[in-house]
């Protein structure tokens, strides 16, 4: 009898520990590329994953992944749709979110962001998606992050978004990443009093569809899997000190 009680206490203790340790991550744009890889790796690591994307109906890979892992919830979220953001925030109201990953982003049309033939509609679409989308999702879920254990918010940037290393191509994409960096730093300044750390992480030169759409023909230095493993490691070690600069997937900080 004593043994049975002891065993029950032990089991109850383990259950308690497990639920305390099952952290939650919310990822935007998780139907493909790096977002998908983030969902996969966090799910495999035992995290609760809220995997959002614009069109769950067409997210076949993500749906297949969710049938293998019952800790993945797929949610519809267009980061430019304020109604969808508000509805999702309402649904998860009061639920702690340990890590919020603002991954959704677009490259945009390339010719109309080249100096000499720029177009404002393309500028607006890239800025809206890559910057406003990220800050409005962060605004909507900041209380969930504040209520969590890990209290981390990250956004995906790129070495191409470094002002110090900028170049005369993909002007709006680069400018959007500079604006995103600043926006996230301002959010950090605002939320650090609540113990939240906001960081910018970059995927090195990872083999994704987006990079191919860039017309990039150089060597892919890492696979999407390696890039995400590296960025998860960066996120796990993120502090106010390390977050003072953007950090690449290999753990190396680079200039703004």
């Amino acid at each position: 009898m004593r043994h049975i009680l002891a065993a029950l206490v032990l089991v109850a203790g383990m259950l308690g520990t497990q639920s305390a340790e099952a952290a939650t991550v919310l990822i935007t744009g998780s139907n493909r590329g790096l977002g998908f890889e983030f969902a996969k790796q966090y799910a495999e690591a035992g995290w609760n994953v809220i995997a959002t994307c614009r069109s769950p109906d067409q997210a076949d890979e993500l749906k297949a992944l969710a049938t293998k892992h019952n800790n993945i919830s797929i949610e519809r979220l267009d980061v430019l749709n304020e109604g969808e953001i508000a509805a999702l925030a309402q649904k998860y109201k009061g639920k702690p979110i340990d890590v919020l990953i603002n991954n959704a982003g677009i490259l945009g049309d390339v010719p109309t962001q080249t100096f000499g033939s720029v177009d404002r509609a393309n500028f607006d679409r890239i800025m809206d998606t890559n910057v406003y989308g990220a800050i409005s999702v962060t605004e909507a879920f900041r209380d969930n992050v504040v209520a969590s254990d890990e209290k981390k918010i990250v956004a995906l940037t790129s070495l191409m978004g470094s002002i110090a290393a900028t170049g005369p191509s993909h002007t709006f994409y680069r400018a959007s990443k500079a604006a995103l960096s600043m926006s996230m730093r301002v959010i950090n300044g605002h939320l650090r009093r609540d113990g939240v750390v906001v960081g910018l992480v970059a995927p090195c030169v990872a083999d994704t569809d987006m990079l191919k759409e860039f017309g990039y023909e150089g060597p892919m230095t890492v696979s999407a899997e390696t890039a995400v493993t590296g960025m998860r490691n960066v996120i796990a070690n993120l502090t106010q000190e390390t977050a003072a600069k953007p950090i690449n997937c290999d753990g190396k900080p680079f200039e703004w």
Binding site: V118, S136, T166, T171, A175, A179, V186, G189
Partner: protein, 259 residues
């Protein structure tokens, strides 16, 4: 007769010398604040000043400046209106512009750029004006600058647009600050692009200049310098700009700012 000819020759030489020295500056947002001070300073130097603003009919201070200086021309230009940009570029086609100062910019509504009350339309307005506006104007007049002697393009940034430093722990002003980081990136990229033509693209910051934007829009209560002092400092930086020195933003007091 010989004397008359010599006199004519001398006069012609003077005229051509003067023509070679009369540089041209185009300034956006020249009706008030720093833009107006830039217009005044370059007019005092004897430059041809193309002073643009959204509503010339309401630009009383600029009218007064024009009354004192015959070389000031006032032109209507809303930097978010592509057709106005295009018409002005057609009007000044082939006219060398030595210095283009992208000064027009807005702070944006403060409430709409606070975490918890973000507003998408205001975000777009600030980005379109401060970033796309400067880029579109630069694109439209780049050939004028390339054809000039001085070949300089400037945009107005801010210490608040720097990603390093004491401003980092301050919440608020999201869109304005993001727009300045984006502008920094865009202008630097344009500078790399136009380097082959000998054009120098630089960023200058005005410090806490006591303009309407700082006093009324931002409700700033700290110590301020006068707009004239700020502009004098920035013009000194512009005068000295080379490809090398324009690699980082420069504050009105000469301090080199981080990105």
């Amino acid at each position: 007769m010989k004397n008359v000819l010599a006199l004519i020759a001398m006069m012609m030489a003077f005229t051509s010398m003067e023509a070679a020295h009369a540089a041209t500056v185009l300034i956006t947002g020249a009706n008030r604040g720093l833009g107006l001070e830039f217009a005044r300073l370059y007019a005092d130097r004897g430059w041809d000043v193309i002073a643009t603003c959204r509503t010339p009919s309401e630009a009383g201070d600029l009218d007064a400046l024009k009354a004192q200086h015959s070389k000031v021309v006032i032109e209507e230009l809303d930097v978010t209106d592509q057709s106005e940009i295009d018409s002005l570029a057609v009007k000044y086609k082939d006219r060398p512009i030595d210095l283009l100062i992208n000064n027009a910019g807005i702070l944006g509504d403060l409430g709409d750029q606070s975490l918890g009350s973000f507003n998408h339309e205001e975000f777009k307005r600030v980005m379109d004006t401060n970033v796309y506006g400067a880029l579109a104007v630069t694109q439209a007049f780049k050939d004028n600058v390339i054809a000039s002697e001085h070949k300089k393009i400037i945009a107005m940034t801010s210490v608040a647009g720097s990603l390093v430093g004491p401003w980092q722990n301050l919440g608020g002003l999201y869109y304005y600050r993001a727009s300045k980081s984006a502008l920094n990136n865009v202008m630097r990229a344009v500078g790399i692009d136009l380097k082959k033509h000998g054009v120098v693209v630089g960023l200058v910051a005005p410090g806490a200049a006591g303009t309407d934007m700082l006093r009324e829009d931002f409700k700033y209560k700290g110590p301020m310098i006068s707009p004239a002092e700020s502009v004098a400092g920035m013009v000194k930086a512009i005068d000295g700009f080379t490809q090398a020195s324009a690699s980082h933003p420069i504050n009105y007091d000469g301090e080199v700012l981080d990105w």
